[in-house]
């Protein structure tokens, strides 16, 4: 059996990039995803055969690459994508987890789901239509979810004669809009997913474009950020107490570091109670280490035997978040049943789930033009709005702008367990953060 470098893709790659795609129904998102998978040699013979077989049985002469990704009966029957799917592919340089999110207007919640864990979002635009409402919606969701990198893929360049001015105008309009929402990094790439221009291979039709292809950009975009400036946070998931002859006194606080770094010897505070101690040791899955950082799953050992349980938050003593029972946040409503003022809910923040009540829904946001509609009374599926929630117990909640992990939460229906809303504490868009800063002490409980 002969092997090529392409076929061995991924065997040496060591970093992982999670990214999401967003595009309207006919912008060619499935074709782009299909081409990324196909041209990176991630579609294997039996998968391709299955697609060819299914395409033939539907009377299609050429294989429909969308069948690679539409995995459910209902999706194949209707020819649409109804839910987020996760895809995996690799090149020699990097491995990728792609959250393939449907583009229908009614599935804003799916883009929120995909974007919540993404470090990069690809927003697709049809070169013939330019920036449309749906594009603004996708940019706004990426900005709201604070996805660090956004790629604007101007697709179907083949249908506008590969004309630079068409691309330049769309790129300029989108960049200005996304930048005004606080998207930190925007890369615009002219492509034709159907013809393969600038997706994996550089285009011979667009000499005027000197930037990277989509894949090249995905391979080289930085995946980690400088953690030295981050607030260190460890939500306690589980207390490990072997109580065996070998480890009679072991008491470890297990969790995944949500942000920043922890060091042995560091003075820490446990919230919400506010007790302090010092880190006596860090176990990194059986290995003793001096320093650990996000997103490592670790076990912390403390010098003092203090009362700590699941739901507590361990932070450096010099860098404690305020605790509060009054949460102000932007939420995306993801359930079919509405969220109403006065409703009793559960709020899950990190490892802590508390009772809560929706006190106020000050406004509903229209993503198309970012206008605010005051006091809508309720939020329904796919709505984005500001809410004020009162919790039964204090939460150590960071601003989502500071930490996607400790600034996010779920609202859950206590009756049937449905996830109602995805919440982001603090200001909605990065641009607001500069002008609005609330600095009162009322939220402090100690």
């Amino acid at each position: 059996m002969s092997t090529t470098t392409d076929q061995l893709a991924g065997i040496s790659a060591t970093t992982l990039l999670r990214f999401a795609t967003a595009g309207s129904v006919d912008d060619g998102k499935s074709t782009l995803v299909g081409r990324l998978l196909h041209d990176s040699k991630s579609v294997l013979t039996d998968q391709l055969e299955a697609v060819e077989h299914a395409s033939r049985s539907r009377g299609q002469e050429t294989p429909d690459l969308a069948l690679l990704t539409d995995g459910l009966r209902a999706e194949r029957e209707q020819g649409i994508t109804i839910d987020v799917a996760y895809r995996y592919f690799a090149t020699a340089r990097r491995r990728f987890i792609l959250a393939d999110t449907p583009g229908h207007v009614q599935y804003t919640r799916n883009m929120v789901t995909g974007a919540s864990t993404a470090e990069l979002a690809v927003v697709l635009v049809d070169a013939r239509n330019g920036v449309v409402e749906q594009t603004r919606r996708h940019a706004a969701v990426a900005a709201l979810l604070r996805v660090p990198h956004v790629v604007l893929a101007v697709n179907k360049m083949d249908l506008v004669d590969y004309a630079e001015p068409v691309f330049a105008a769309i790129a300029e309009e989108f960049t200005a809009y996304a930048a005004s929402l606080g998207v930190p990094e925007i890369t615009a790439i002219p492509i034709s997913a159907l013809a393969g221009d600038n997706v994996v291979e550089p285009s011979a039709n667009m000499d005027w474009y000197g930037g990277p292809t989509v894949l090249e950009h995905l391979e080289t975009v930085p995946v980690s950020h400088d953690l030295t400036g981050c607030h260190a946070r460890l939500p306690v998931q589980y207390v490990i107490r072997p109580q065996t002859a070998e480890h009679p006194d072991y008491r470890g606080y297990a969790g995944q570091i949500a942000a920043g770094t922890f060091r042995v010897g560091e003075q820490v505070t446990v919230l919400p109670a506010g007790r302090t101690s010092k880190i006596a040791g860090i176990d990194l899955l059986g290995e003793s280490v001096d320093i650990a950082w996000t997103p490592q799953s670790v076990t912390l050992l403390l010098e003092d035997d203090i009362d700590i349980s699941r739901g507590d938050l361990i932070v450096p003593s010099g860098d404690t978040p305020a605790t509060t029972q009054d949460v102000e946040a932007t939420v995306c409503h993801v359930a079919d049943q509405p969220l109403t003022v006065g409703q009793r809910v559960l709020l899950k923040h990190t490892t802590r789930t508390v009772k809560a009540i929706v006190k106020e829904i000050p406004s509903r946001l229209t993503l198309d033009d970012l206008s605010q509609h005051p006091n809508p009374g309720q939020l329904v599926a796919n709505d984005i709005g500001l809410v004020k929630v009162r919790t039964a117990e204090p939460l150590a909640l960071d601003s989502y702008a500071d930490s996607r992990r400790t600034g996010s939460f779920l609202l859950i229906d206590p009756a049937d367990g449905t996830t109602l809303a995805a919440g982001m504490a603090g200001d909605s868009f990065a641009t607001d953060a500069a002008t609005v800063h609330v600095a009162d002490d009322e939220g402090w409980d100690f």
């Binding site: 995995g71 799917a85 995996y88 969790g255 995944q256 899955l285 059986g286 049937d416 367990g417």
Partner: protein, 311 residues
Amino acid sequence: MRAVAALNEGTDSPYALSHLDALESEAVHIFREVAGEFERPVILFSGGKDSIVMLHLALKAFAPAAIPFSLLHVDTGHNFPEVLEYRDRAVAQHSLRLHVASVQEYIDAGKLRERPDGTRNPLQTVPLTEAIQQHRFDAVFGGGRRDEEKARAKERVFSLRDEFSQWDPRRQRPELWQLYNGRHAPGEHVRVFPLSNWTELDVWQYIEREKIELPEIYFAHEREVFARNGMWLTAGEWGGPKESESVETRLIRYRTVGDMSCTGAVDSDATTLDAVIAEIAASRLTERGATRADDKMSEAAMEDRKREGYF
């Protein structure tokens, strides 16, 4: 040396985790979430590589304490002896509690009927779901990966099942950030897939890195096999070969381990982990496409079985 900052390609940060470290950390997080939120979790353990990796991750997640879960094996009655032996050894070594749901017992009691094709894989669903109800398990870990199959690509890490263990892809909860919602009503349970984001290659590279022992059938060895539906099946008391099928001795190995009646072997001379990894990286067939007869039954075979409660 893993805790020491290492520069990885594509990043200027000394704090970047390798992809294996990132996947391991995520899986451990999932195990600990379940331990923190559920009353009676159980790990589905078949003795295959994915469940062996799950067990390894669970051991690391709770070390130096014991794993706070028991194991459940759905025994088709058509197991590879090497795999059963591995299972029992692992249980003894880590002082685990093993529950066995036996397809053969269901057949003997007349509660299940043998299929004409002799395949027992689809027959596992009833013993599995009844075992879950009987033991009142509220979280059931499975080794399923989203890269295996396109219906699985839609599966959540925490997947709510009703009292009949059914999966409804239209009623899945959105999975936001790392905030897994495990709320369920009495009688319902949650299937949990800590290896959701792993690929077959990740699993093998992790096995190599962690020096995890596997049943020998994963490595090339000579075995009596016969051809059926384009696959090499092991000859045995389970019902193969038929008269028209002839047995030959070949150098083969298994990419997946399941019921003998539907798990095919691949021609291979890979006797080491390095050789296996090189072989998988170069393979033009998916794991299931190469070795699973039951997935070839129809375009939506996996989706249909999952809806019924299969893992």
